[in-house]
Symmetry: C2
Subunit: 450 residues, 2 copies
C-alpha cells in the first residue's frame, strides 16, 4: 500500500467516535473518525507525537505522500498519527447522506475539524501508555498546513508547534492580490485561448478539437467549451503544484520535473491554431496520460480521486473563499475578475449556502498573527500557491522557509536522491526547529525556557 | 440611570445585526445584539477602546456596576464599549422563543459569544472614523472575566490584552478542588442545617420556620425544605461575593461590609434551634430586605433580576460545568458530593441536553495557558470564586493580582472613598499594564517591542 520508503513501518488504522457538533448541544450525534498510528520508533516515555492534520482527501493517501514524517520518525523517536478530516475519505458524519444538503453539510468547517483533532489528541494521550506527557507537533500540507498553523494558534495547549507546508493562509479576501500562476512556458498557453475560440467558432472545428484532445465526451455546447478551458487552466495550475524533481504520483503519475516535459511542446506561441492545439494536447497528455493507460481524457477530472471534490467545493462556498483572478496580461490565463456576487450565487445554487469571505481572517487573524509562536511556514517558489503563503519571518518563533526549487509541499515528501539542495536544507531547518520545541517542552535547555 | 460617578458621561445604546450561528452555514438567521458606546474622552486618532465582554445579564446593569472603566476613561483617553452577551438582556436571538427548547438554545455558547464580540469590534473599527487602528482591551468580571481572558487567548489579533476580574477559569473538572466557601461566621451556619432538620420534623415546626423566615410561600413538602436549604446556601455564597466595603447594590441593595452585619446575628452556634433560626432569619434579612421594602421572602430568587437565570442554567448544563462540592467539615454547608451523573440527568430533564464537562478545558487550555500573553487575572480573597481563579503569575505577561480585602471583582467597581488600599493598588497595577500594552501596540516604547 505504501511506497518503498514507508513500507518498512507498521501502521495501524483506527477509528474514534467523535461529536458531529462540537459547538452546540442540540445535535447529540457521533461519527467515526479514521486515523492512522505508527509507533515503532516512538520513545515510550513521553516521546514526541507528530500529528498530521488531515486535509481534503483520503488520509491513507496523505499518509503515503508525507514521507518526511516517516523519514524523521527514527531521529525524533516519534510516534506518527495521521488524522482524517471529517467529510473526507471514510470519515463521513452521515455516511452516504453527508453531501445531500446544507443541513447534513453544516458540520463541515475548519473549526469542527480542529476540535476533532484536539479531542483525538487528548484521547490518545490519555489512552496510550506513556503518552500522557508527550509533546505533540502538528504537521500538514496545503489546506492541511493551514489547519496545522491554525491548530497551533487556537490550541497551543495541545500542540507545542506546527509545520505548515505550502499553507496559503493569506489567500483570502483583501490579504494578498488574487493573481494566479502556472508553468513558465506561458506564452503558448496565453495564445491557446484565442486559438480555441477561433477553432470552436465552427462545427467542424469543435469536432476537431474534441478529437485533438482525445476527449471522452466530445464538445457539444458553449458550456462544454467553457468547461474545457477551465479544465485546461486547472491542469496548468496543477502541473505547477506537482513540479517535483523526480517521477512521482501525487495528483497524477508524472515524470520528473513535469513542467519541463510539458514545456517542450509549448515552445512556439506563433504556430498555426491547429498545430498549437496539437502541441497543447501533447502537453496535457503528459499530465493525464503519462502511464499511457488512458483511452480518452475526461474534462470533469483534474486530479486523483483521493481528493474529496464535493467536500472541498462546499468548503470553498462557505469558509474557504480564496479569491482568484487573472488578467491575461501578467499571467497566461484568460482575463477574469474576481466577482464575489456571482461566486456567491453559484454557491447558493449548488449548495444552498452563501460564503462568508471575511470569516477566516476574523477567526484566524489574517495578517495579524505575530502573537502566536512555534509555527514554521514553508513554501516552494515553484508552487502556484506560494503567493498566498507566509514568506517572511514574522518573529523569531513564527518563521518562514522558502524553497526556491520546491513545488507544492515538496518538503513533506519522502527523501529522494534527486531532491534539490534547497529542500534538504528546508527539511534540516524544520527538524532543527522541532527539536528546539521539544527541548523547550522538556525543559532540557534551560536557557530556552522562560 | 447610572450612579453618580458615571452619570456625567454620555452613553449611546446601539444594536448590531449578527449571525445566529457563526460556526455553521445552514442557519442563515441574524439577531440584534445590543451594545453601549461612550466616547467623550476618546482620543479620536486611534485611541484605545475598552471593551466589556458582557456576561450573563442585562448589559446596562453591568455598565452601571463597572465604574472602573468610567474612572479610567479620561486617563487612558479611551472609548468604552459594553457588549451584551447573546441570550441575555435584550439580545435574544429568537425573542420570546429563545429559551423554549434545546433547538432555540443551541447557539448559546461562549464560543458564539466570543465570535459576536470579534465581529462587533471589527465592525466598530471599520465604521467609527479614527478607530481603524485603535488598540482594544477586553475587560470583564466573573463569567465576563472568563470571556475577556478567553477572548485574548482565541482572538489575540483583535484585543491586545485582557483584564479578567474574578474569573474562575479553573473552576472546571479536575482542575481545582470543588470546595465552596462563604462568610466567616461559619459555625452558626454549620449548626443551622441540623436545626432546620429537627424543626421541620414536625408540622408545627415547618409552619414555625415558614413564619420565622417570612416566606411568601409557606413550606409544604420535603422538596420545599430542600429548596429552602439551597436558597440559604446560595444566600451565604452571594453575600460573600458582594462583601464590598461600602453600601452597594449589585446582587441586592446592601450595607457596607454586609458579612460583618450578617455575622452580628450569628455569633453563638450553641443557641437553641428556634433562637438560632430566628438569628439566621435576621441575618438573611440583611441580604433580602436591607431596604425594608420586602413584605415576605421568596425562595425562588437569590439575586437581582438583571441576571439571566434561564440562560445561565442552560450554560451550566452544557459548557459551564463548574463542579461544587461540600463536606460539612471543612466548610459550613451540608455535605454534598459532586455527582456528575445526577447533574447530567437533571440537565437532560430540564433542557434536553447533557453537559460536556471537559469541553471548556479542551477548548480554552485548562491550566496549560502559558503560551498566551497580556492577561491580568485579578481575584479578591474574600470572594467564594477565588479558589477557581489564577492566583499566581504564570509568566511576565500572564499575571495575577490578588486583592486581600476584595470580594467579587471589587476592582471593576467605581472608585469609592471607602475602598481599601489593596484595591487601589490593584487598579493602579491594572492601568499600568494596560498602558504598557498600548505602548507596545503603538510602538512608542521600542525597548518593549520584539
Amino acid at each position: 500500500m505504501y511506497s518503498s520508503i514507508v513500507s518498512k513501518y507498521y501502521i495501524t488504522l483506527l477509528l474514534k467516535y467523535t461529536k458531529v457538533d462540537h459547538f452546540g448541544f442540540d445535535v447529540n450525534l457521533t461519527f467515526k473518525q479514521r486515523y492512522l498510528v505508527a509507533n515503532q520508533y516512538w520513545k515510550k516515555e513521553n516521546g514526541v507525537i507528530l500529528f498530521y492534520t488531515g486535509n481534503e482527501g483520503d488520509i491513507t493517501w496523505f499518509c503515503k505522500n508525507t514521507g518526511f514524517m516517516w523519514d524523521v520518525a527514527e531521529e525524533l523517536k516519534a510516534m506518527l498519527v495521521f488524522a482524517e478530516h471529517r467529510y473526507y475519505g471514510e470519515s463521513l458524519p452521515f455516511g452516504n447522506l453527508s453531501f445531500t444538503d446544507s443541513k447534513h453539510l453544516n458540520y463541515l468547517t475548519s473549526e469542527q475539524a480542529l476540535a476533532d483533532f484536539a479531542i483525538l489528541i487528548e484521547s490518545l494521550k490519555k489512552n496510550i501508555p506513556g503518552a500522557r506527557n508527550s509533546p505533540v507537533i502538528a504537521i500538514g500540507g496545503s489546506y492541511g498546513g493551514m489547519l496545522a498553523a491554525w491548530f497551533r494558534m487556537k490550541y497551543p495547549h495541545i500542540v507545542i508547534g506546527a509545520l505548515a507546508a505550502s499553507a496559503p493562509i493569506w489567500q483570502f479576501m483583501d490579504l494578498v492580490p488574487c493573481g494566479k500562476s502556472g508553468p513558465n512556458c506561458s506564452e503558448t498557453i496565453q495564445s491557446s485561448w484565442k486559438a480555441i475560440d477561433r477553432l470552436t467558432s465552427t462545427g467542424e472545428g469543435v469536432q476537431w478539437i474534441s478529437e485533438a484532445f482525445h476527449l471522452c465526451n466530445p464538445l457539444r455546447s458553449q458550456t462544454d467549451i467553457i468547461v474545457l478551458k477551465s479544465w485546461l487552466a486547472e491542469t496548468w495550475v496543477n502541473l505547477a503544484m506537482v513540479d517535483y524533481p523526480y517521477s512521482s504520483d501525487f495528483l497524477m503519475p508524472l515524470p520528473a520535473w513535469p513542467i519541463k516535459e510539458v514545456c517542450k511542446y509549448l515552445t512556439d506561441p506563433n504556430e498555426s491554431d491547429k498545430v498549437l492545439i496539437q502541441n497543447l494536447s501533447q502537453a496535457v497528455n503528459i499530465y493525464y496520460n503519462y502511464s499511457g493507460e488512458a483511452n480518452c481524457l475526461n474534462t470533469s477530472q483534474t486530479a486523483t480521486s483521493n481528493l474529496g471534490i464535493q467536500g472541498w467545493s462546499y468548503q470553498a462556498c462557505t469558509e474557504m473563499v480564496m479569491p482568484i483572478c487573472t488578467t491575461g496580461i501578467s499571467d497566461m490565463f484568460e482575463p477574469q475578475e474576481w466577482d464575489f456576487a456571482a461566486y456567491s450565487d453559484q454557491c447558493f445554487l449548488e449548495w444552498g449556502v452563501r460564503p462568508r469571505p471575511l470569516w477566516i481572517p476574523t477567526v484566524f487573524g489574517g495578517k495579524n498573527i505575530s502573537s502566536h509562536s512555534n509555527i514554521i511556514f514553508s513554501n516552494g517558489a515553484l508552487d502556484p500557491w506560494y503567493a498566498g503563503g507566509v514568506n517572511e519571518n514574522i518573529t523569531d518563533n513564527l518563521v518562514s522557509i522558502v524553497i526556491p526549487d520546491g513545488a507544492h509541499h515538496l518538503d513533506l515528501r519522502a527523501r529522494n536522491i534527486d531532491d534539490p539542495q534547497s529542500v534538504l536544507f528546508a527539511r534540516a531547518k524544520e527538524v532543527e526547529y522541532m527539536k528546539k520545541w521539544i527541548e523547550q517542552f522538556n525543559g532540557v535547555s534551560d536557557s530556552l525556557r522562560k
